[in-house]
């Protein structure tokens, strides 16, 4: 499905701030994989997401979807296959546009954007039904500006928008990190059910160790631009947070440090 082949990324080459963010990374996502990705601050997790989605181009290596090299495609062309939710609840929606307008834009993912009316009665009905599934009453506020929503509501909407057209790959970059625990829990539950129902191939960065173990069928650990551990479903089932942290310290030679890290 998604293959990342020997990908490297160097920031600020030739300056004192030179930094290898990714160092010959290889990852292979099989169809239906739900991978949780953990690692210290600055390990390169977001950079990896940016390179998969096309926000950045790798300095070396290839990104492939279904065997096709897509490294040269700009972000807007890759969006046909890739849905994404950012950490910042403000990042995934347009605040001055209405809920239904935001959904209409998500609905147009992968299609040519032409001069057809973006919102019709039939579409509006579909939007309402999708919003109902979030269970937070947004279906009654179709014409409210998104800027009026709370962070949690906006993130739920972002999640719906990212998955609306059933993308081949879903990228989640600490998408619950900016929310309070109750809201984060809600978004996690929604993520779980949407990924399961739509059978989305998912890569999710999280700072919540318990969540990283509980969710998905694979767990990948990154440190200093490299993948240091790839844990499969079998082993993940019996893994504890202490074991996970111990494993990290043993391989990397230092403790897992993340200012927002949640253990349980």
């Amino acid at each position: 499905m998604l293959e990342i082949n020997q990908v490297s990324k160097l920031f600020n080459p030739g300056t004192p701030d030179e930094k290898i963010a990714l160092n010959h990374i290889n990852v292979n996502l099989r169809p239906g994989d739900f991978i949780t990705l953990i690692g210290s601050n600055g390990a390169g997790k977001s950079t990896l997401m940016n390179i998969i989605s096309g926000v950045m181009k790798p300095d070396a290596g290839d990104v492939m979807i279904d065997g096709k090299i897509i490294s040269h495609l700009p972000e807007y062309q890759r969006s046909r296959w890739i849905g994404r939710v950012f950490q910042d609840p403000m990042a995934g929606t347009a605040p001055h546009m209405t809920i239904e307008e935001n959904l209409a834009m998500a609905f147009a993912r992968g299609k040519r954007r032409g001069l057809k009316m973006s919102i019709k009665a039939s579409r509006r009905q579909m939007f309402r039904e999708s919003l109902e599934r979030l269970g937070i009453g947004l279906e009654n506020r179709l014409r409210a500006k998104v800027g009026l929503l709370s962070g949690g509501e906006r993130q739920a909407l972002s999640l719906l928008m990212a998955t609306f057209t059933q993308p081949d790959i879903l990228l989640l970059d600490e998408h619950t990190a900016a929310l309070d625990p109750a809201r984060a829990e809600l978004i996690t539950r929604l993520t779980e059910s949407i990924v399961r129902e739509m059978k989305l191939t998912t890569l999710m960065v999280t700072h919540n160790m318990e969540q990283a173990i509980r969710l998905g069928n694979r767990l990948i650990m990154m440190d200093k631009g490299q993948i240091i551990l790839d844990i499969d479903e079998q082993r993940k089932k019996s893994l504890t947070v202490e074991e996970l942290l111990g494993e990290f310290a043993r391989i990397s030679g230092h403790k897992l440090s993340d200012d927002r890290m949640v253990l349980a």
Partner: protein
């Protein structure tokens, strides 16, 4: 008095086209486009040259619209493909257009349309202009609610998001800036015909007048949604013209004082919301601090602190 106000309303309808163009760049795309000062004169120049050479005035106006689109496309390309800062792209294009406009006008800084038909010959402006503006408003609102129009609006609202949803924001920016300058040039063409001449300097200060119209419209009539906002822009352009007409009747004001009046309107409108917001914030902070520390000192020291 009445006749000058009526004349102002008529002019306001024409300037409204220009203001709608400024609304697209300034408000929808969040792109302060200075091309406007040049493309307004481009429109006027094209219309004046074509009409004084016997072309159909309607055709001349359409060509002027296309000329504005071309100018806007250049600014858009400079900004998106050339990665030049937005303000600078507009300024560069504005300077370049001065020379281009001079070429269009065959080296004459002023072209009169004497004893030729214009679009205003044999029409009643009080019927045709409002209908025309309503048609423009309908077309614009239709466009801004299509899939492409939504992508254009999102480009100004959250460009990262709309890229992640598959829109090429370079393209949407170029389309928006082109369309905006098309409207501005069309306004230039119509105003040249209405006044009977085109002048190489007729566009100077247009961006500020456009901004003033947008801001006045929003302040008086609100901008809840796109439909509301575009109507407000038209009304703002008319109110601006009326203000100008009345200001010109004040004995101690010169016509040349208009520019500073316009600038002051825009400055006040831009400064006022920020200042009032920060005053509100400060008040709120003071109030909350008093409440919170009040609770704390009571809880911790049982009021002893004040003894």
């Amino acid at each position: 008095m009445l006749s000058s106000v009526l004349g102002a309303i008529e002019l306001g309808f024409l300037y409204a086209l220009m203001a709608l163009g400024v609304y697209i760049t300034f408000r929808i795309l969040d792109f302060p486009d200075l091309t406007v000062d040049g493309s307004f004169a481009t429109g006027g120049g094209i219309a004046a040259v074509m009409i004084s050479n016997g072309y159909n005035p309607l055709l001349a106006s359409i060509v002027a619209f296309a000329g504005g689109i071309a100018a806007g496309a250049c600014t858009g390309l400079l900004h998106t493909k050339g990665k030049i800062n937005g303000l600078l792209s507009g300024i560069l294009m504005m300077i370049a257009l001065y020379s281009i406009n001079m070429r269009i006008m065959r080296g004459k800084p002023n072209i009169a349309m004497i004893s030729v038909d214009t679009v205003f010959t044999s029409i009643n402006p009080w019927i045709v202009l409002p209908i025309f503006i309503i048609i423009v408003l309908l077309l614009m609102n239709w466009f801004l609610h299509t899939d492409l129009g939504l992508a254009l609006r999102a480009t100004g609202d959250n460009d990262r998001m709309i890229r992640s949803l598959g829109a090429n924001t370079d393209t949407t920016k170029i389309i928006g800036i082109s369309l905006a300058n098309g409207l501005v040039a069309l306004a230039g063409a119509l105003i040249a015909q209405q006044s009977g001449f085109a002048d190489i300097n007729m566009g100077i200060g247009m961006i500020v007048i456009g901004l003033a119209s947008v801001i006045i419209g929003e302040a008086i009539f609100g901008a809840r949604n796109v439909i509301h906002a575009t109507i407000a822009v038209v009304l703002g352009a008319i109110v601006y013209r009326i203000v100008v007409a009345l200001a010109l009747r004040v004995p101690w004001l010169d016509a040349s004082d208009l520019k500073i009046i316009t600038a002051v309107i825009v400055i006040v409108a831009l400064v006022f919301p920020t200042v009032s917001r920060s005053i509100k914030q400060k008040k709120l902070a003071k109030k909350r601090t008093a409440e919170l520390t009040g609770v704390l000192s009571k809880g911790a020291a049982g009021g002893d602190l004040h003894a």
